[in-house]
Each structure stands twice: as C-alpha cells, then as structure tokens.
C-alpha cells in the first residue's frame, strides 16, 4: 500500500482554511499514487485549540468541513486525520476516515495528557478500547499521540492508566499508525522514535508516526514525522520544522519475504 504522510502546519481554529490546504495535499498525494493519507491529531483545528473546542458551532463547522473533504477526494482514496467527536455532552479526541462520499469515526484517543502545557482532560473523555481498522486489505492499528507514550523508561513519565499498544497485540495489526501533535523538546524526537521502536517490537509491524509542525502561540511543533519498518529501522524521516508531504510504500502483503528454498 502506498501511504502519504502529511506533516502540516495548521492555523488554529481556521477549519475551512486548514481543510482546503489538507484537501490540496490529499489530491497531490493521490496524484503520486497514494491510496491512503495520514494527517496529524486535530488536523482541521490545529493543536491546541483550547477553549475553541467548547463552541458547538465550531464543532458543527468541523463536520461540514469533513463533508466537503469527502466530496473532494478521488474514489478509492482514504484520509485518516485527527478530529473532535461530539457524543451527547461528551467530546472525544478522535480519528476519522474520510473517503469519497462520506466519513466515519474510527478511533478514540485512550490516554489524555494533562500535565505541563497539556489540558486534554479539561475537554475530552477517554476512549475505552483499542482501534483496529481494516482498510485496503490491511489491518491498521490506530493510535493518537499519547497512546504511544506507554513506556515509562523512555517517556520519563508515570505508568499510563492503560496500555493501548499492548491491547493492540492480540489484534495483530499490519501497520501501526500514530497521529500526533507533539511539541518540540530537547531530545524529544529521539524519544518518540524509541517509543515507536518499542511498539514495533511488541507488534512486529511498521510504525507510521505523523506529527504536526509549526508554532501555535508559545508551543512549537517540530514535525520530525517518521516511519519505522517491520524490523524497527528508521526507513523514512520527515524534516524538522518544515511542512512536508512524503510517500511511503509498504510491502504488500506486509509479511516478511519467505526464505530462499
């Protein structure tokens, strides 16, 4: 499967502008032969949207933008991106699959960071199950940002409330996808790769990590998206501090080549 990694620099709250830019990038990716594109966490909003999330009108506008996006994508092309899910009074930091003619919610973020500059428990409820999406003949394990930060030895944080990577193990994903909005920190790019490496070892599959890039108020997102292959080697590295669109080809089917007879 040919997959596009979209490392985008959104303007917070500009749902329409961010949708238009993302739409263009999807068309560009499709032209390059990609079947699936990945965009960061809360890609239409820009991270962090803070209390803008509390406005029902903006959340409705998000859904209309997703409708528009689905009308503009070519047939057979899918986009996975971070969205806000409104469910009654509850909000979830979620992931949607957008295809021509419609979009649907496919994952909810499990681990909500609420330390340092993060405030996700102010807005969101946690998802309570692992997310696996069968698409294009592949089993895609879906995670959002913090869901990957489950190794206290690497993250330097407390043990998480649950382990979304462990819960994906019995579901045997062919690829692990993580959509992030992870701000710069010294040594953090390396730490993210180590966390992805730990997930790769547990799941035995490639890891695609797509991060937001750009400055939003005091936070600066470095991008540095990457792909680890099924052996854990760094196969693709997107730039530090720049918007980028890169294409990655998975071996299909995603099984190791059988040994020579």
């Amino acid at each position: 499967m040919r997959i596009a990694l979209i490392q985008s620099n959104p303007l917070v709250g500009d749902l329409q502008g961010n949708r238009q830019r993302l739409q263009q990038q999807c068309l560009q990716a499709a032209e390059a032969g990609a079947e699936l594109a990945l965009a960061p966490e809360l890609a239409l909003w820009g991270y962090p949207p803070r209390d803008l999330l509390l406005q029902p009108a903006l959340r409705q506008q998000q859904d209309r933008q997703l409708d528009q996006l689905s009308g503009a994508l070519p047939p057979g092309f899918g986009l996975l991106l971070g969205v806000v899910e409104t469910s009654g009074q509850k909000l979830f930091n979620a992931m949607a699959l957008v295809e021509r003619g419609g979009w649907r919610l496919v994952a909810r973020k499990r681990l909500l960071p609420s330390y340092d500059v993060f405030d996700e428990q102010r807005y969101f409820h946690s998802g309570d199950q692992p997310a696996l999406l069968s698409w294009g003949g592949q089993r895609l394990g879906l995670t959002l940002c913090e869901d990957l930060w489950v190794e206290p030895k690497i993250s330097g944080r407390n043990a998480p409330l649950c382990d979304p990577i462990a819960e994906l193990q019995p579901l045997k994903p062919d690829l692990l996808i993580n959509l992030s909005a992870s701000p710069f920190g010294q040594g953090k790019a390396e730490r993210r790769r180590q966390l992805a490496g730990a997930a790769q070892q547990r799941l035995g599959c490639p890891v695609l990590y797509v991060n937001q890039v750009g400055g939003n108020d005091e936070l600066i997102f470095d991008g540095n998206s990457f792909v680890l292959d099924a052996t854990g080697a760094l196969q693709q590295q997107l730039p530090c501090g720049e918007s980028a669109l890169q294409i990655w080809d998975s071996q299909s089917p995603a099984t190791p080549t059988p040994p020579e007879p």
Partner: protein
C-alpha cells in the same frame, strides 16, 4: 510545499541541539507573527547579547526588510552599546532609529519632583528608564503596525530582573525560555562555522560573525546606573542558572538544595527572588517554549502565596 518527495536518502542525518533550538525559535517567531497577522517586527537593541540574538532571530524569521530596531541610549549607556548595536544592525541589514532618552528622563524627574518631594532615585529611577524605552517602543509599534518582540531571557524572568511595562513590553517573549548561559551558547554557535547551514537556510549572511565578539564578550549589564553589572546584584549566570534549573525544571525545594551542599544564603535569596517575581511573569508576554518547563501555561504558580521557606 513542493511535490511529494521520495524518501530522504540519508534519513538519520540529525541536527545538532543548537541547530534544532535555532530552527524552532525561527519557526516560533515566524508563525506567531504570520498567524497573528503581522508582517513586521520591532525590537529595542541595547548592545547586549539578548537583544542581539532576538534581532538575528527576527531577521531569520521575517527578513531584514520587515524588522526594525530602536536604539535608546541613556547617559548610563556605555559607549560600546550604541556602536555595537549599529554594527550588528549593519551586519543584519536592519533599519534602525536612535532616540536618546535623556530629555525624557529629565522631564520625568521634573514632573515627579513635587509628588515625590525629590527626584526619582534607585529602583524607581531605573524602572523609569526601562518604562520610557517601553513606551517609545510601543509608540513606534503602534504607528507602524509591528509586532514588538520582548528580549528578556529565562534567568531574568525567573528572578524578576526585568521591568513590567518596560522591557517586558511586547507581544512575544522570544527567548524567555533560554537561560542566560543558553543564550551565550546559542549566540556562540550562531557565529561559528557550525551554523553556516542554518544561516544560509534562513537568509542570514553566510560568512563572518552575526553577533560579533564585542557583544559576545562583554559582561552582562542592564546599564541603568553608572558602571552597573548584572553580577552586582545576581550570582554569576552559570551558577544562577544551575540553581534555577533545579528549582524550575526539577521541582527542588531550597532545603533539598542546601542539603545537597549549596550555600544557604544564595539558595534562599534566589528562591525568594523567584517567588517574589511571580506577579511579573503572570503579566509577561507568551514565552516560546523550548524546555521541559517554561514560564507560561506549563508553569502554574500562585502569586499571593507563602511556603515554609519564606525568608
């Protein structure tokens, strides 16, 4: 953004820590200005290393034609201040205006004399100079539609070595998450051959110094009274920054620092300064975050508070 690119043939090519910091700061200034609708920026150039670094960052982020600097010497400014600032501006191809503040200082002295029963003195007089400069900067920024960049560093913000409604004026505190020692490190890197690639990437002159030895090597001074040096009122920066880092990033208490062998006087004093300047930080411009704990939404300290270590 260009056409989709194939995989980077050398994916593990890593940027040095300084190059990463530099690139993040440039991006932070660029996006804050662009996303807030500013094309132009303004800053005050003092001849010191902090404003020199911010000037270089502003030019890298927005282009030299979009950045303007104000030089506001007082009778306490050293001769080097003005010359070094002008030389820096010329290396950065930066437009400057010079507005001496002595006439305004005299005007304030005369106007305040009846109310105070004397001319302003001490801290009051020092802060007045900073506030005169802050007012001039805001007037120019208002008139020309520029984003005013504050140039204070993390060490100063931590101990309150900064003036509200003076040098703290501005829409963005560009290097407010760099300790003074880190400012020295980053500026030395910027003037070294190691920075050539990043300089070229953002349109700074590829050859020769940007900051220059005159600015890199001078002892830090606020120049708010005759022959003043930061070291008159603060411990040396490498030591100060080490203690601050223990307090801020590592959540240490004064007792823990003293128990680990640090001198009680210095520890208590810095702790007191850190806590007493909370009201200033709450009113500071947003600080571009680079460290594990920067002043801003990742630092939520009370202002009206007392803890056991109150001196």
């Amino acid at each position: 953004m260009g056409q989709p690119e194939p995989s980077d043939p050398n994916p593990t090519r890593a940027l040095s820590p300084e190059a990463q910091l530099w690139r993040m700061l440039v991006l932070g200034v660029q996006d804050y200005a662009r996303k807030c609708g500013f094309r132009k920026a303004l800053l005050g150039l003092s001849g010191g290393i902090d404003s020199a670094l911010v000037a270089a960052l502003a030019v890298a982020a927005l282009g030299s034609q979009q950045v303007r600097a104000l030089l506001m010497p007082s009778p306490y400014s050293s001769e080097g201040s003005l010359q070094d600032s002008l030389a820096l501006a010329s290396r950065l191809n930066l437009a400057t205006s010079t507005v001496p503040i002595e006439p305004l200082m005299q005007q304030y002295d005369g106007s305040l004399d009846p109310a105070l029963g004397q001319k302003p003195e001490g801290i009051t007089a020092e802060n007045l100079q900073s506030r005169i400069r802050g007012t001039l900067l805001m007037a120019v920024a208002n008139s020309e539609g520029q984003l005013l960049l504050a140039t204070g560093n993390k060490s100063e913000l931590a101990v309150g070595y900064c003036t509200l409604y003076g040098d703290m004026n501005g829409g963005l505190a560009v290097i407010g998450d760099l300790y003074k020692s880190e400012v020295f490190r980053l500026t030395r890197w910027l003037d070294s051959p190691a920075a050539a690639g990043e300089r070229q990437r953002c349109g700074l002159p590829a050859d020769g110094p940007v900051i220059g030895d005159a600015i890199l090597n001078k002892p830090p001074s606020a120049e708010l009274r005759p022959d003043q040096k930061d070291s008159d009122s603060l411990p040396d920066y490498p030591y100060l920054d080490r203690l601050l880092q223990r307090f801020i990033e590592e959540h240490a208490s004064p007792e823990e620092l003293i128990a680990s062998g640090e001198p009680s006087d210095a520890v208590q004093r810095i702790w007191r300064l850190l806590k007493r300047s909370e009201f200033k930080r709450r009113q500071a411009a947003p600080v571009l975050k680079l460290s594990a704990r920067s002043f801003g939404c990742g630092w939520r300290m009370p202002i009206a508070a007392r803890t056991g270590a109150e001196g």
